[in-house]
């Protein structure tokens, strides 16, 4: 499927992020380059839960986001939704969208995705619900619960607080949400019904329920002797540690962006998404079609931002790349950033897009951290960005994400000439 069917070009004009590596672009990039990890211990002892199989996670620094959001607003929403508000604010600022929003609010839309939505809020309220149930009285749960617990809370809060009256979508698409949100944005922009779309994903999964469900999927790493979320492509398949946060991008049609003199980070060349219970089939079909329908050659790709979550998916991921890129894989650097960001599920896909876009801008490829002394899967046939950052003139990159449900989504982003 080629979504660029009417030859409109969609460009990235702004970005915003809340992540364990920092709650703005500058801090994020700095820590990404330095390989700084923000670790913390998971503690559910206030709930009496002691059988935590996972001890650590990558946390967002709680000081800064709290400063950005007034407390009375904060209590109305889950952390994940607060992250999406902060990230959107930065993206709006970065793209300097104030006049556009002021003059034509119905031409600005939002699409945000998440796996668990406001589950953390629901868990806390469930504890309260149980106490009322025990006392057999009217369950006076939080009045904000109905607007906090569902994943549509984020695009709702974002549209209300910024007065976006254009398209609005909430996409609970799992890990691929960040990339899939680009698809909704591009289609909305191409339909001509909006001029700007804020697209991204958000997640706050460091809660008992999320850990319980992911642990049962066999995805979480039990031991965390090293200070990294995971060791992607090492073949150890130990799993990953969780992260949290939100990433939001501002997308516009190129002509619109140029006309208003916006800074342009890059153009989205093509998008593709395929689901198959066999992830190798899904990935192979997805990438083959991505290149074919986009009219792009594999040799045009300067680097790949891989999914790399340190589970058995790693092997399949590399198999897909081998099938699609063949020998070219020995020369195209592959990076993965989950070792330092943590796996923030939906939000990770946006973290990775933003990392890729910043790499394009700075002409620097971030290495995969924490795997220096390990031998990686088929290392002789794959060019892993393993040890040090690579400086190189970068023009085009591929990024893909893989969902636990067998969804494989990918986009190609290219730098545009001024």
């Amino acid at each position: 499927m080629n979504i660029m069917h009417n030859n409109e070009k969609v460009v990235i004009t702004g970005m915003g992020i809340v992540s364990p590596l920092g709650s703005n672009l500058e801090e994020y990039w700095g820590n990404l380059r330095d390989g700084v990890v923000n670790f913390g211990n998971i503690d559910f002892s206030h709930l009496g839960i002691t059988d935590i199989p996972v001890y650590k996670a990558h946390f967002v620094s709680k000081k800064k986001p709290a400063g950005c959001i007034p407390l009375n607003t904060k209590k109305k929403m889950d952390d994940s939704v607060a992250y999406s508000l902060i990230a959107t604010k930065e993206a709006v600022q970065d793209a300097i969208l104030y006049d556009v929003i002021l003059n034509n609010p119905e031409r600005v839309g939002v699409v945000l995705g998440s796996t668990f939505g406001g589950i953390g809020y629901a868990e806390k309220e469930y504890l309260r619900y149980m106490s009322y149930e025990e006392k057999k009285i009217f369950p006076r749960v939080s009045a904000y619960l109905s607007i906090a617990m569902f994943s549509c809370a984020a695009p709702g809060q974002v549209s209300v607080s910024h007065n976006f009256k254009g398209k609005i979508y909430s996409i609970p698409d799992g890990n691929t949400s960040g990339i899939d949100s680009m698809f909704y944005a591009i289609r909305a922009l191409n339909s001509g019904s909006v001029d700007v779309m804020l697209a991204g994903s958000f997640e706050a999964p460091i809660t008992p329920f999320c850990i319980s469900s992911l642990f049962s999927l066999g995805k979480l790493k039990k031991e965390s002797s090293e200070n990294f979320c995971c060791s992607p492509f090492s073949g150890k398949n130990e799993g990953f540690l969780l992260g949290e946060g939100s990433g939001v991008l501002s997308l516009e049609r190129e002509d619109f962006a140029r006309k208003r003199g916006a800074k342009i980070y890059g153009r989205i060349v093509n998008y593709q998404s395929v689901i198959n219970s066999n992830i190798i089939s899904a990935g192979e079909r997805c990438l083959a079609s991505l290149f074919k329908s986009g009219g792009i050659g594999i040799n045009e790709i300067d680097f790949i931002v891989a999914y790399g979550d340190g589970t058995q998916t790693d092997q399949k991921e590399i198999e897909v790349l081998k099938r699609v890129f063949g020998k070219a894989l020995t020369t195209i650097p592959i990076t993965a950033i989950k070792p330092i960001t943590g796996h923030a599920l939906s939000a990770s896909s946006s973290f990775e897009i933003i990392a890729g876009v910043l790499s394009l801008k700075k002409n620097v490829i971030i290495p995969i951290r924490g795997v220096q002394n390990m031998s990686l899967i088929e290392e002789t046939k794959v060019c892993y960005a393993k040890n040090i950052e690579k400086h190189k003139l970068l023009k085009t990159f591929l990024i893909y994400c893989i969902g636990f449900n067998g969804k494989y989504s990918a986009i190609i982003v290219r730098k545009v000439s001024e």
Partner: protein, 416 residues
């Protein structure tokens, strides 16, 4: 431009576990609202709901399939059954379930697997244990719904899949998204619709505590009364509505039965308030106008609107204003109805079940009624087809949804 037609319908609803029964009860004004049986509602202010009754998964699937499906959340069970009926209605045979066909699955769900989810939360809070809950992710996360649909219905072939979760408008948005994807040639045939099973204590208490749900529930069948002066909130319900849409030539080539054509889709945000609708109804009206423009028809050709009509004091007035905003002098000539007066509000499934009602209204030339409408709110002064179904030749029909977060959606359906 490619045309997109409807070739199959399936529904599991509080007033019938198949589309024929659903339609018969719709036109006869039968209510599916009863005292809650899923859990003890004694503590709550609202004590009624639109539950799915007499539903047995065994009626739809073979033993081996039932073994697998039993782990899924109720919403998924309803959804799979509705989809199975829709696929049969569309005469989808195994030779269509191949890699060379461009399939899509686009579904709306807002709450997700809350029955399995709440049981999971209860377990870990009561037992104080995180480990030991197998299959929790698959049984309760929204993105896992696609896995169930693909493995049970599509024979594990590759497809384009997406879930959408725009509150009470999710089912409408899913159909609209699928419609545009088929029209633009990205896919040729798709399972679209919505599924929801939100009748669980926590979800119920979340809506009850803010007084969003009906308060006068002594006579359950009268609790949902859209556009009536007596209305006091919506009635939470469950169900699933599935529609098979496909490209016209694709449907003709394989000799499928064609209900008609999906014509237009509009979506926007009120950016007004998280739950309250914008009193002016302007943006909902704009969504209708966008759908009309997308359909390429004129305002006066819309003869029937299946309203969001949630029975909340604020919605029904603002929706009436929205219809007037969009249709002007034509508003009074439109036969409007609210399906929610009979089935309640199944959130993410509502839009899909209402679209099915609108499709059948056009096909059969009958507008189902809005029941419990004896004392009309003077601010709701349009023709809501009160209490009794009305025979009318319909040219185009519209189905509207408005959700929390300020989402507004509109779909238009007509003859080819």
């Amino acid at each position: 431009m490619r045309k997109v037609v409807v070739t199959g319908l399936g529904g599991v609803t509080p007033i019938g576990n198949n589309v024929n029964e659903y339609w018969d009860n719709l036109i006869n004004g039968v209510s599916g609202i009863y005292h809650l049986s899923r859990f003890d509602a004694k503590l709550f202010r609202c004590k009624v709901g639109g539950e799915i009754r007499n539903f047995k998964i065994e009626d739809f699937f073979m033993k081996e399939e039932v073994e697998i499906i039993k782990e899924a959340d109720d919403s998924v069970k309803y959804g799979l059954s509705a989809a199975k009926m829709a696929l049969e209605d569309a005469k989808v045979t195994p030779d269509l379930l191949v890699e060379s066909e461009k399939w899509g699955i686009i579904l709306g769900q807002t709450v997700g697997g809350c029955k399995t989810g709440e049981a999971g939360i209860r377990y870990l809070l009561k037992e104080r244990r995180i480990t030991g809950r197998e299959k929790l992710y698959r049984s309760c996360t929204i993105d896992s719904v696609l896995t169930w649909f693909n493995s049970i219905l599509l024979n594990n072939i590759s497809y384009y899949g997406a879930m959408i979760s725009t509150g009470c408008a999710a089912g409408t948005d899913a159909i609209g998204q699928g419609f545009h994807l088929v029209r633009d040639g990205l896919i040729d045939i798709a399972i679209v619709g919505g599924l929801e099973a939100p009748l669980t204590p926590l979800v119920f208490s979340a809506f009850d505590v803010v007084g969003a749900m009906a308060k006068h529930t002594t006579v359950p069948a009268e609790a949902s009364c859209p556009f009536s002066l007596k209305r006091s909130g919506f009635v939470l319900a469950e169900g699933a509505g599935i529609v098979i849409i496909e490209e016209l030539e694709h449907a003709v080539r394989r000799g499928a039965n064609i209900y008609g054509e999906v014509k237009g889709y509009g979506n926007n945000s009120s950016a007004y308030h998280m739950t309250a609708p914008d009193p002016s109804g302007k943006m909902l009206g704009e969504a209708m106008l966008e759908a009309i423009e997308d359909a390429g028809c004129s305002k006066e050709e819309i003869d029937h609107i299946n309203a969001h009509g949630s029975s909340t004091p604020l919605n029904d007035v603002s929706e009436t204003r929205a219809i007037k905003y969009a249709f002007g002098k034509f508003a009074r000539g439109i036969s409007i109805n609210s399906t929610k007066s009979m089935i309640g509000h199944p959130l993410g499934a509502a839009g899909a079940l209402e679209f099915i009602s609108a499709i059948l209204a056009l096909k059969k030339g009958i507008v189902p009624p809005t029941i419990n409408l004896n004392v009309v709110d003077p601010e709701c002064d349009l023709d809501y087809t009160p209490n009794v179904a009305k025979k009318r030749e319909l040219r185009y029909v519209m189905s509207n949804s408005a959700g929390f977060g300020g989402v507004n959606c509109s779909l238009i359906f007509g003859r080819i």
